[in-house]
Subunit: 390 residues, 2 copies
């Protein structure tokens, strides 16, 4: 078995926003791949980038070298999508990698540092205005964390301005935040955000982004908001490898670049190629499954079972996603959890979120480290990993 | 009171080598400056770079703006020194900043990753050879940590080679490692290094460094060692600001670029400018004080007392460094401590080292986090922060 990844670690993306806001260190939510499969002596890890797949001769081409396969599992996820406005990428970075997170952290903290050095009130307010585009779980979590950072963690840190003056705007195109959640939960999330001081702008689209702010479109009304920091949590598209595979297997990807897969997660015409997670489009009950970690995890377990059954000459029923619930955290003691019959908000939702995310982290050491940092931050409101680095 | 720093955090440099070898995260050994002085309402922190000092009009020039002073304390430390071979800087990076450490960590780990992908035995051995230049505490600590990483942490991580094949060479110009320690301790250090598998080359100088290795000079004999990773722990010189100050105050720095200071740590002719730490040359008992954190700490406390006394119109006796001991750690359960009458080696020295460094860390949270990681690494020999990042 060969595991190929261009990075040498597994990253627990759901907590990336905490790295971006100085609450956790990158290594706390990452685990070296070699550690994870250390005891599986039949597994070889290669840190390499896949540049092509020859589906006919069953060979993966790496930047240097190639690897033959009998079965290929592709799960390279998704990246940011700027809906055709690729120029926005530089102004409004997204959050998918460790480097995205440390860069975002430096950008947010530097805005406060520059505000302390700034004499001009208009420019200072521009520095202290943060716009988050996209009201899904990532956008909500980021907005909540920045509001907590500004209004609580940094409360007594500056001398020439009051961090309470920081404005955090969350921009969402449809008429409510957390649109994939039920309406009551979405409303509860909205209230929690307001309590933290986040200004929620629903029914609002971004028409432009430049170095001094964003141009917003609310119905017919155009509005300009001066903001030095704009963060992107709006769109994702399948990673580049999906396009390569589509070309090689003569398939057309869906509008988000995802590969449409069969009931057993395989590529049409290629039962030996399984595509999982954010880069796969799997329709269930007439709708595509959402791009959630839970979907990818269940597909991973399914793929393992499928391969084992095939080796034993047994058949496997098609994949079916079981929705065990969705969660979003807004801030300290505030989260929403949609667990089917059970709906949790506020403190209870938050405790559930904490517990679940601790358990989902890979490795006991990371769990302890994250727990210690959450405990400290709960009691002191401090965020210790507030480093501005290059 | 105004604290000016180009970084937004205090860095505990003595543990930087643990970040460089994947044992700790950057934030574990760094504390945001604003957190540290949060409760001192009369202290203002500016994240800015000092570009000049006008000693006549008592004004510090920043990249943008300027700050007037009555008393100026300058303590900007030291940087690497390549003894005139500035071209070596790119081939043999040093370890002074967080970025140095994460880059060194990526470089070391990437060498192992490339070795796993490599088919050519000569090239693989080149990838698995690490040369550390300089046998002082930093070089010894780095060499020990890389040896532990290769021979213990990564022991079962690779399939195409045995990490035990990794060679770690420590090159020192004089005839023993840890030359500032007593001879018995230096010998104990050397034995511990050998036990970890470090090859110690004393009486050896570096004559050249290129992308495939180093050229060593042992007496008259020239020897070439093929190594992809060369790390610099040999020379330091005072930071650039020392040269600026020397020029402005018409003084000549010493050969290491340090400013020669008076008994009260002030610049000759400028009692209102105090120079502390690695950038100051303070002669005591006919010898310059070594560039140790302990010296800088004691000078910092002295400077505070001096200023308070001056404000009260009292005089202060000259500064005197009290050597409370020096320490170097070689690896797991091995350290040497020179505490005057008391000399500790092995396990006991190591426990003392652990305790002292935990206590010296700024902030209770960082102490707990470092303790947790040390405990895990002691029992599992794992190093969780093994991330290759850009």
């Amino acid at each position: 078995m060969t595991l190929i990844d261009r990075r040498n670690f597994h990253l627990f993306q759901p907590l990336l926003y905490q790295v971006a806001t100085g609450g956790l260190s990158p290594a706390d939510i990452a685990s070296p791949l070699r550690s994870i499969v250390k005891r599986q002596r039949n597994t070889c890890v290669l840190q390499a980038e896949v540049v092509d797949v020859d589906v006919a001769s069953r060979r993966v081409a790496l930047a240097t070298g190639a690897v033959d396969y009998d079965t290929l599992i592709v799960a390279t996820g998704a990246t940011h999508h700027y809906f055709g406005n690729d120029g926005w990428a530089r102004r409004a970075p997204g959050l998918k990698t460790i480097e995205d997170a440390t860069k975002m952290r430096s950008g947010i903290l530097r805005a406060f540092e520059l505000a302390e050095l700034c004499d001009d009130p208009t420019e200072r307010q521009e520095l202290l205005t943060f716009v988050i585009v996209g009201g899904g779980p990532t956008g909500v979590e980021l907005a909540g964390a920045i509001a907590e950072l500004a209004h609580q963690t940094l409360e007594r840190d500056f001398r020439s301005f009051d961090p309470a003056a920081a404005r955090i705007l969350l921009v969402e195109g449809v008429d409510r935040v957390l649109p994939t959640f039920s309406e009551p939960l979405s409303a509860a999330g909205s209230r929690s955000l307001a309590r933290l001081g986040v200004e929620v702008l629903t029914g609002t689209r971004v028409a432009g982004i430049d170095e001094h702010g964003v141009e917003l479109l609310r119905g017919e009304r155009r509005e300009r908001v001066r903001a030095r920091t704009v963060l992107w949590a709006a769109g994702v598209q399948a990673s580049e490898l999906a396009a390569v595979l589509a070309r090689r297997a003569s398939l057309s990807p869906d509008p988000s670049g995802r590969l449409v897969v069969e009931r057993d997660c395989s590529l049409p015409g290629h039962p030996e190629i399984l595509v999982l997670g954010d880069m796969a489009r799997f329709d269930q009950d007439g709708r595509p499954l959402p791009g959630l970690a839970a979907v990818a995890c269940q597909q991973g377990i399914y793929a393992g079972r499928l391969i084992r059954n095939r080796l034993r000459g047994r058949s496997t029923p098609g994949f079916r996603y079981r929705n065990r619930g969705t969660l979003a955290v807004i801030g300290r003691a505030a989260a929403v959890a949609d667990l089917g019959p059970l709906r949790l908000t506020g403190y209870l939702g938050w405790l559930f979120w904490l517990f679940l995310h601790l358990m989902l982290l890979v490795g006991f050491e990371n769990r302890v480290l994250v727990f210690v940092q959450w405990a400290f931050s709960y009691f002191t409101r401090n965020r210790g990993a507030r480093l501005i680095t290059e």
